[in-house]
Symmetry: C2
Subunit: 325 residues, 2 copies
């Protein structure tokens, strides 16, 4: 199943968002649209705008604001990608050279700032202080999540608890904000807003769990970025944490730890760690946990009446775990 099939109820909205994404990038400084078009045109799935639009449509909201707010959410996401690639020294992003590897870290930092600002300009234009509050808090959480991840880099004792704190902030908050915005636009009750927010949070957590599993098992071609990068960067994610916990062979456990602490890794060492994680059910438990969050997400929608849009949201939740991108 292609992700685009899930978006059929909002296909026209998404086309409008796609145009608007590129329309607001103009600047007399040509490097700005060049870098923005590079990263925004590199095959992102527009998951966050899609969630906002589906959520708005769940309540039959058809006001104009859904378009600029979808763009704002995608700009915030893209700004964090530009800054992440600087933080991680990434060379690939969605199968293309990353912006920082072409134009340098300086330009990536500043163009990220430009996109954050543009997102806020679009949000202010929508005159809704609730949404402005939600998205400025989400932006603060994104930064805090990234910083916490940075602090925990190289710390083999990172706990499951720390891991979930990191991914809730760095990934799930923007999913939950996107979903809640649809409900806010449609003037829904606090409880309904909360339900959509939780739906977004739960699929966001599942999304990141799957991402962290794919980093161990996908191939470069499918994922569009170098795999095994979490290991190379010293990021301790769910698959490794659980594998270390599950390992009953002291020798293998110590070898895995020794490899983790090395600055550079041979292909054999990376392969050993991957096998260690797989053998000790690191991937299995990660997908299991992701599935639990997807089930919670589906429960968040039980009170809403059945519809084509609700169906899309439920299928999207399933797709999050099945995806291989």
């Amino acid at each position: 199943m292609d992700v685009a099939d899930l978006f059929s109820p909002i296909i026209e909205d998404l086309q409008e968002v796609e145009k608007a994404i590129f329309k607001h990038l103009d600047s007399e400084i040509k490097l700005i649209p060049t870098i923005c078009e590079h990263i925004l045109g590199s095959g992102g799935k527009r998951l966050r705008p899609a969630l906002l639009l589906l959520s708005a449509k769940l309540f039959d909201y058809r006001g104009e604001e859904r378009i600029p707010l979808s763009v704002a959410v995608e700009y915030i996401h893209t700004a964090t990608l530009l800054h992440d690639d600087v933080v991680d020294n990434s060379v690939l992003r969605r199968g293309k050279k990353s912006a920082n590897s072409i134009w340098g870290n300086e330009a990536s930092v500043l163009v990220g700032d430009f996109l954050f600002a543009k997102a806020f300009i679009l949000m202010v234009g929508c005159n809704n202080l609730d949404i402005l509050g939600l998205l400025s808090n989400a932006t603060g959480d994104l930064a805090q999540g990234e910083i916490f991840e940075l602090v925990k880099t190289g710390d083999i004792n990172t706990s499951i608890n720390d891991y979930f704190k990191i991914i809730e902030k760095k990934t799930a908050v923007l999913f939950s904000a996107a979903c809640e915005i649809g409900a806010i636009l449609a003037n829904q009750s606090i409880n309904t807003r909360k339900a959509l927010n939780n739906f977004g949070k739960n699929i966001g957590i599942a999304f990141q769990l799957v991402d962290d599993a794919l980093d161990y098992i996908s191939t470069d071609n499918v994922l569009g970025k170098k795999i095994g990068t979490d290991l190379e960067e010293g990021k301790v994610t769910y698959p490794l944490i659980t594998a270390l916990k599950n390992s009953s062979c002291k020798e293998e456990y110590e070898r895995a730890k020794d490899i983790f602490f090395k600055d550079d890794h041979t292909k054999e060492e990376i392969d050993y760690l991957k096998s260690f994680v797989i053998k000790n059910k690191g991937i299995e438990s990660t997908i299991e946990s992701a599935n639990e969050y997807i089930n919670k997400a589906k429960e968040n929608l039980t009170d809403f009446k059945n519809s084509e849009v609700k169906d899309s949201l439920l299928k999207l939740a399933d797709f999050i775990v099945k995806r291989r991108f």
Copy 2:
């Protein structure tokens, strides 16, 4: 004259702002307050909050919002400093080691993002869409100014026109926004808002002109950062542009250009370029231009009745050119 003397009408407000600046930095991730306190506690003059407070007081506005908005403006400024230091690879900031040289570029980028977000959270809390619009546009201009400066780095043919475009955006917009916010809070007319905005813009341009002159003539101790850094970084500023224009000796002109294009400079080369700039009236014309902007700034205030606060603003304008920090 110490800059603090100019702030006497708002001394209590500034103390309140100072407390509030540190109050909002709390996070369970301790690296965040650590880095923020390092840079926010390093002797910044709080010029932008002071302008906001003086402008508000010019119209007798005493509402609560002036405090969080002053903090927001200082956070935005500080976020750009953190990102600038990454872009410029700076090792010193206000006489202390820069955040990026202590905690790395990664942390500086992300903590800058955190401060941008905090600024917007504070702004949203003030419920004023005019101010939100003004400051989100200002933030976009800041990024554009920095990017334009980056694009022009190493371009010896940077025109005076380009130079002013850069400094208006990277420096003057936040001064003008700070001044205009005071007038917005006090419900002043569009014309009054415009007058305060122009006052801020003109002193902002003068401030940057003086900054660029000081980079050629100050000493490390006074300026609190390495001087001659613009040259080292290939930044072509007003003093160099005018010196090249004024030079009538082809040999000296060519030597200055040759030195500019070298990747690394000996002390002798830096000294030669400084003498070249001074000899060809680069510093004189820069200060002259700064004075013209200060005069324009004073004219922007002619329609307001005389008061202690207006007097402070006028003296502050003069101080901008006389300062040696």
